[in-house]
Amino acid sequence: MSTTTVPVRPTPENAAELQAPKRRPFGVWFKDKGWRHLVGVVVTLFAIFPLLYVLSAALNSNGTLAGTKGLFTKIDFGNFINLFNDPARPFGRWFVNTLVIGVVTSAATVFLGAMAAYAFSRMRFKGRRMGLLSLLLLQMFPQLLAVVAIFLLLSGISDVIPALGLGSQLGLIMVYLGGALGVNTYLMYGFFNTIPQELDEAAKIDGASHVQIFFGIILRLVTPILAVVALLSFISISSEFVIASVVLTDPDSQTLAVGLYSFVADTRSKNWGIFSAGAVLAAVPVMALFLFLQRYIVSGLVQGGVKG
């Protein structure tokens, strides 16, 4: 198509063709690949625009919602300075609280989940099948459905042990651990099954106890799935709003989700710049972690989700 054997008088069109004989015409390229780039650009814009917007608002110390006309028209760090200098809005505390609650909960979740997955994967016992089935069913009912009962249960616990009741972060962590089994165990169970049984048998013949097998062999071989589960549970806990907002009432003990919401709910347009600064700081660690471990997460999702 791009080369002609019959010599013709050079018209404008085939003159162009003759000049670049190897080049595929735009139409063909577009039909094969170009439209893919078009889709890619459009969807990428849709995906990153809100992120650019919040970044631009964070860097613009004019501050109000109405004041952010163009993107990145002004760049300074006034909002970040204001963010940390407001005693009524202890952003630093929220950040630390979220980090502590998230890390403790996800570490405990991984540990509890791994123990359960070990039992389900390596042992045969009465009620094993029922147990797995129940976990599968229970994960259809997220804890937030029972938020009223959780609130009342914790207010009951407050009367007995105030340190574990309403307003306590330890109490909140305990509530989150209620969801530690469920989907996590299921993900891990699938992964544990891929570790050859012969390994533990060999170790057992050498006289290793089940504790040694669990901590010394299995946990080391399943590290990728442990990382995935830890990360996923950290991300979901740090975004959790419903239960945290009900349990943590004192501004000093709140998490980022509760604090940033209550802050922006009343004065959405006025403090927009400061909120954006807070949002950027809250999002950056999670996003960095996510992108850094992206490969593991994707393989975990695909393995755990698609193959079970």
Binding site: H37, Y53, Q294, G308
Partner: protein, 550 residues
């Protein structure tokens, strides 16, 4: 098929299935083999004893507290759980239980029990004004409905503090001194220090608040009401300024014989109306009531109360529409992108992919808030900058608000579907594609008849899970629109983008209308039933449960 695992708990290794009946000979043989691991097993035994000791110490502390507060039923249950935990970890064998117990403990308390407890609350009138027992309600009414006793003497008063609790120190007109707080009835004091005017100002063991501290704690001091005695009917002492107190008597008098309250001034009688409150003959109710079982009242009310019925039906319909449309949109876009970028020779594929995953990595609660800024009708970037100052009600018009919610949820959800679909597409064997093309099938035909059905087999369980997740997708709705714009045919705070779970939250913890835990739990139970039905039906069809049978 795996062989049953033999287990090893501090020495002998009985088979799990055999338990303690395992033959002794084998155990002794193993013991010899284990001798060089003696130190290891001693160490793990020590760890076990220490951990169990900590758990038991905590349990004893809890049991003592429960004993002191006389919560007998909970105490018995707590004791039984403690014994069970000890039995699990101290006996030989029963290895699976040792690994499952910690997780299952939290699961049972904070996931299974709370669900059952929701079921119980759904059948009560628990909520603001119905918080506690009838006895508590009676003394609360007596304490709150107080009027100053006419012509009663005034007491010189000082405000003291001990362990963060505020106390009032009274000097009676006859010179005797007494002290008390809201929780501790009046008691006489003999070692008080008096100032020049004969007013008691301090007591050893308490800090006296100076004038500045009194001003700073004004509201707390105003709310102190010191009962004269354990019997609430005796009245109380209160101060308005932190320096003078007066005697107050209940304006409602309770008669235990007839179980009625009588208003001292008007003489109106309030009787138990059977609905957890005292009410007069003409229907006027006292604000403080108590918790009773109301049977199916909450469910009946939800579907018959004209203030609730139409909005609730709208909310249920929208919940389904939101969840289904969200799944279709995110899956559709995700699959489309997965196919579009499923080409090895596409330049910049990796960059597209990383940028497109970003919304998934962005914390979900923030996305709603950020988008609410972009879409804000008056000041939002979309109206102000992109549309040149238009005033389109992206979040305030019922239809547009719904579309906005769906678009934002698409933004949040498509990267996940993109990742999952890419994974599933790449796991399809390439031969299928080639074979079909050899037989003359076009690209569309290959996709429609071969790839899509194969894809759906592996992805269908994820679509159901995604449906269940979106059914309760609280964050995106609550952060973006707060459920608004509000319906006009109801006085309650219900709006056109509310889904069931945001409604539950607003009914239970919302501002303005008062907390109604009973109704909220009833609505939560409705969600349970819907989700259970949907997942049961769909799982049966996709046979996802076969996985477990392996």
């Amino acid at each position: 098929m795996r062989v049953p695992q033999s287990t090893n708990d501090a020495g002998p290794a009985p088979r799990v299935t055999n338990g303690p009946t395992s033959p002794n000979g084998r155990a002794t043989k193993n013991r010899a083999a284990n001798s060089r691991h003696g130190m290891e097993s001693l160490k793990s035994t020590m760890v076990k004893v220490v951990l169990l000791g900590l758990v038991d110490a905590f349990a004893v502390f809890v049991l003592i507290t429960l004993f002191l507060s006389q919560s007998w039923l909970i105490m018995v249950i707590a004791a039984a759980v403690t014994l069970l935990i000890n039995w699990i970890y101290l006996r030989k064998g029963g290895l699976p239980a040792k690994y499952l117990a910690p997780g299952v403990f939290f699961l049972v308390v904070f996931q299974v029990f709370v669900v059952l407890y929701s079921g119980y609350i759904a059948f009560t009138n628990y909520g603001d004004g119905h918080n506690s027992t009838k006895a508590d309600a009676i003394s609360a009414i007596q304490i709150t409905a107080q009027k100053r006793v006419p012509d009663s003497p005034s007491f010189k008063t000082s405000v003291l503090k001990q362990n963060d609790e505020l106390f009032l120190l009274f000097t009676n007109p006859d010179g005797t001194v007494s002290i008390g707080s809201t929780t501790k009835p009046l008691t006489a004091v003999t070692d008080a220090v008096l100032d020049g005017t004969g007013k008691a100002v301090s007591v050893p063991g308490y800090d006296t608040l100076n004038f500045a501290a009194i001003v700073a704690n004004q509201n707390d001091i105003l709310s102190i009401s010191v009962p004269v005695s354990e019997d609430a009917a005796q009245g109380s002492l209160r101060t308005a300024d932190g320096s003078t107190a007066y005697a107050f008597k209940p304006s409602m008098v309770y008669d235990a014989g007839t179980d009625t309250f009588t208003d001292v001034e008007t003489g109106t009688t309030y009787t138990d109306n059977g609905e957890g409150a005292f009410a007069s003959a003409d229907g006027e109710r006292l604000a403080t009531g108590w918790k009773i079982n109301v049977g199916f009242d909450n469910f009946v009310r939800a579907f018959t109360d004209p203030n609730l019925r139409a909005p609730l039906l709208n909310v249920i319909a929208w919940t389904f529409m939101f969840a289904i449309t969200s799944v279709i949109l995110t899956f559709g876009l995700g699959l489309f992108l997965a196919i579009t970028f499923n080409r090895d020779d596409l330049r910049g594929k990796k960059i597209y992919r990383v940028l497109m995953i970003l919304p998934y990595a962005f914390p979900a609660f923030l996305s709603g808030l950020v988008w609410s800024g972009i879409l804000n009708p008056q000041f939002g970037w979309l109206n102000q900058t992109l549309l040149g100052g238009a005033e389109i009600g992206w979040l305030t018009d019922p239809i547009l608000a719904k579309i906005s919610v769906l678009v934002v949820n698409l933004w949040l959800g498509f990267p996940y579907m993109f990742l999952v679909c890419t994974g599933a597409l790449q796991s399809l064997p390439a031969e299928l594609d080639e074979a079909a093309r050899m037989d003359g099938a076009g690209a569309w035909r290959v996709f429609r008849s071969i790839k899509l059905p194969l894809l759906l087999v592996s992805i269908a369980p994820l679509l159901i899970a995604s449906f269940a997740f979106n059914f309760n997708n609280f964050n995106v709705i609550y952060m973006l629109t707060g459920g608004g714009p509000r319906f006009e045919d109801t006085t309650r705070d219900i709006g056109s983008t509310d889904i069931l779970i945001t409604l539950v939250y607003k009914v239970a913890f919302g501002q303005g209308t008062g907390r109604d835990y009973g109704l909220a739990s009833a609505l939560a139970i409705v969600i349970f039933i819907i989700v259970a039905t949907v997942s049961a039906v769909s799982f049966k069809q996709t046979k996802a449960l076969e996985e477990v049978n392996r």
